[in-house]
Symmetry: D2
């Protein structure tokens, strides 16, 4: 049994790890931390997770945790992972970090968007961006996985094959993303309270969302030139799911059918990417509670643009499910283990 | 123009007063307080209320506010109204208190349920329970209105005519109420956050909700003997509205038709109470955003019980709308002024 | 591999069987019917269920289906199951019927509530009511399972131990149930459309819901006398889940703690029943997407009533999950197979 | 009193006219039609609208209705208005058509998108596009108003001032719109049922929505050259509201502040257009139930694009409220009459 430790188990990505791993029969959860809930058992905080009656939240103390597990998931607030990851790596452990701390390769760009110096730039370099559809081979032997952001996962997967082939003009990409409210985390804030979010819809962080450089980095790698995008995020009145609608000017006249073939070619052997048939669109309900990413494409012949639409569950393929997928790859476990369930629908 | 002052304008009952009074052409809002938002204009905190660009939240200081208005609405947290009301009454002002502070006539019962002594028991006695359908005449000349609770309004109105006539056995009453989330107030709490409330439903405060003695007091007055009820409240995943389902054993064999006639007889001249035809049920969507209370009745001949169902908007007839109705009555204004709109539907 | 056939796969209970069985590794789905969608593959109708690309909906013709499987799930409209079940039983097959057709033992009561004669009264007698917590032994060898209704499951489980012990006065039981909208089925009706249900809440079928005799039958068996209840159902603006709030007069003075011990004693070895600690309440979010039933109890010393609250997912423990649980029991498979997942939360 | 007749009163735009006009004190509703509900009173179909007890739905027969009113609102399905409008105009009446039938000036473009010949091309020419912010003077004397589509209202208002000034490159405009479900109408369809829409989000009619030519027409007029846009619509799980996020490449380097000044300059005297301060975004909750359009702007200096965001209530400013605004203008009534209420919030 692989011994698993979760740092930060009381937020939504941490609790989602607990939910997913409950069905994983090759691992054992040996510990979980939470500063706020230390001392409580997991089932006391989350009565739905009654199986974790004996598992108690503890404080995060490296000395006390570093010898207990084979792999550590860090589901900590952004900025809090750096130190913990560094010390665990130092102790010879493998780490999957769900925060943004190790996703940006260029420490200057990191500083520009996150308004702080990175404390471990050498680990920035070493960290493998944990998007298996692109970096599976590197993930296998990685010590440190920078688990991708939810929005970036939903944007990079559909765009990647087209940028790789140089089919989209780099300066024409507009990404309009919409996320369920769990993406904002488990927080006590009036603006996230039920009455404020319900029956409302709005954009946030217009032209300054921190997932922008992460997307641009991977798209730039794909196309081998500098990609700058417009990226707007919106808050959906639903719990889970991201739908991204992506626009780009094609520099070659292709049909919708050809666009879909490019996607199929790129992803036909991927267990978690599904391409919609022509004329159909992805929907959040197809992926709720699952690790799948559904992608659709339409070429608008009137405007010469391609419209790519993707749907993921922000907590699964956008966070904890992808993290488990990465763990499976790192430790030679069947990649889809604990991730095979279909969407809860309706 | 009647000069109106609102103490506590940044919570949901306070902001609802601002919304309703925006269409009232015989009053003028001369001031509004908020400790948290003092200094901000109302439109800065609530961009939807753009007409209040010039109205700034201020701190609540009796000396500074007591000479500025003819009537004061207190939309303060429970327990915070007592002192303010006492001082305003002392200053010769008329007060409509939306909190629970003056609703319970018996100060011992108040202490039993609210776990604190009442500071102004003589005002408890003087305060008029602001349910116009029962106390309209007393309201006209009242100095201090104890504006009814949301649940009690939804429970007393349907039961009152039957208890008045002695048709229901007093110890058989079960009240199962369900409220939209705005009833919990505008608060930063994880348990009220969107992801926690959405797609969930649960009871709360089982067998100990503080609206219990308020309901029992008014039902006891109606029936001229001591009524004790079971009262369970639940949290609905919607913003506004209360639906109460009420059960009681009839001590006389009446039909559904006769039950409806009793309701019609009691309320046919009331502008805000609507009785459903036989076979139809009230719904929250019929009253959303309005001051109406819809009531339906069914007699179950198999069990000998009457099932009364009522629907109100907890923020309007259950709070701020009823408060405005009381103000209209107190100052000789048309009772339905600013309260005539139909439900926002869908 | 057990060969499974689903009659009626395009409604919500049918599609839920497809979802649950996707993770069951001891069965194989050999066929599925749908009159409306015959000819389509399952994945064409439900893109979320992409694994069923090769499984096509077919018309329901007994001759064509009766030799293909070991067990037949009937997820047909009420009234449509009788004939199909009879013919499959005739052909020596085992049948799990999710409709109401075989739940009422007394054909006269069936006729009274369902307004039609039962065509196979001898099968009414033979059918085993598929509530494993009560009838597990009979289920093992049953040819025909009458899978319980969603509401009855949520009402019988909490009340059963108390009625068995004679602790509740039989004529005082009031059941106030609230169900998510999937309970109404997958239908094209204005009254079930999004805009009508969202932000609304109302009762329906007051004093005449057809699950009443089913509940009364099982409670009468438990208490060995005739139980008649008041039962009111309401439509919740959420997809999945039933919460039932149940009131009954205790005929013996017990505490909340003792009430909870009675529940624990009855269900401590049941894999799918969870009793809440004192002071805590069940919630729909604890059971969403799962086969669990959470139960809480409070004794109100002021009124002498017990308040029992239960939560289930109407499509899982209230329908298809319970049906799979029954199948597992009937065929000697581990009872919790394919039913172990925790609630999708948030 | 102005005599008003509503053709098509049982759909959402028709019922919204009934709701809004209930507070209009200079008009009288003399009749309302509905083929499906003929014979029922309005309050029987819509219990929330109890004031219309005496108003009965009737069948639409021109001969019977053409002499009874001064103005006719047509809230009929697209394609059904043409004949009715023509006959009423013929009879000397003034008509406000809420359908798409008279919005497209060029009958060939109409045919291209609506797949049918227009029966009254001369009326196409005469009809005034009922967007008061642009065509107020023409509306005053119009016989036939083509009331704008909901999406076009939300897109044209923010873009118009920029295109008028030639500040956006015409071939770079991308419009990503999201609408509440009432925009799909009051229909019995599985795909619009509660369980299907709730917790889901998806695009529809990608690259082929019929509001595209309406938007392009007005933008082309504004900029005096041919504008072709990408326009994607999505279905939001909420009842009311449209939020449009609009992207265009600026051909001149302006700041966000300057962009907002351009909007203020265009709309400062408009009663129903509100410009958000810099750094703030419009939200559907600010406009729910109101006739307001809130607009925000951000210039992304990294990409050279302007991001315009607008919010309206699709049933009010996007349909029936705008229709009442047009009626007020046409008949010399105060333009904001019956439209002054603030948003129902929360």
């Amino acid at each position: 049994m692989l011994r698993v430790f979760i740092c930060g188990g009381s937020g939504y990505t941490g609790s989602e790890l607990l939910r997913i791993l409950a069905l994983h029969d090759e691992i054992e959860i040996v510990g979980v931390t939470s500063e706020k809930s230390a001392g409580l058992s997991v089932s006391e905080l989350f009565p739905a997770f009654f199986i974790y009656r004996e598992l108690k939240f503890e404080n995060l103390q490296i000395e006390k945790i570093k010898d207990r597990a084979d792999v550590y998931f860090l589901a900590l607030p952004h900025g809090k992972s750096q130190q913990v990851a560094a010390e665990l790596i130092q102790a010879g452990k493998r780490v999957i970090d769900l925060s943004a701390d190790f996703r940006i390769k260029d420490s200057q760009i990191y500083t520009l968007w996150y308004k702080t110096e990175h404390a471990f730039p050498h680990l920035l370099k070493e960290a493998v961006y944990g998007l298996p559809e692109i970096y599976r081979e590197k993930i296998k032997n990685a010590r440190l996985i920078a688990n991708p952001g939810c929005y970036p996962t939903s944007v990079i997967l559909p765009l990647y094959p087209f940028l790789k082939k140089g089919l989209i003009e780099g300066d024409t990409i507009v990404v309009d993303s919409k996320s369920g409210t769990s993406g904002a985390g488990r927080k006590a804030e009036v603006s996230l309270s039920y009455c404020e979010v319900n029956e409302d819809f709005r954009a946030y962080n217009v032209a300054k969302h921190r997932h922008t450089p992460e997307i641009e980095q991977e798209l730039s790698y794909a196309s081998e030139r500098n990609i700058i995008i417009d990226f707007t995020t919106h808050l959906l009145p639903l719990n889970r799911g991201i739908l991204s609608t992506i626009y780009g000017k094609l520099n070659k006249n292709i049909t919708t059918k050809e666009a879909l073939e490019i996607l199929e070619e790129a992803y036909h052997s991927e267990p978690f990417v599904k391409i919609m048939p022509e004329g159909q669109v992805p929907a959040i309900k197809y992926v709720r509670g699952t690790n799948y990413c559904y992608i659709g494409a339409t070429v608008n012949q009137r405007t010469g643009r391609i419209i790519l639409i993707s749907a993921i569950d922000n907590l699964v393929k956008g966070a904890s499910g992808q993290a488990v997928q990465n763990m499976n790859i790192m430790f030679g476990i069947e990649e889809t283990k604990a991730l095979k369930n279909l969407a809860l629908s309706p």
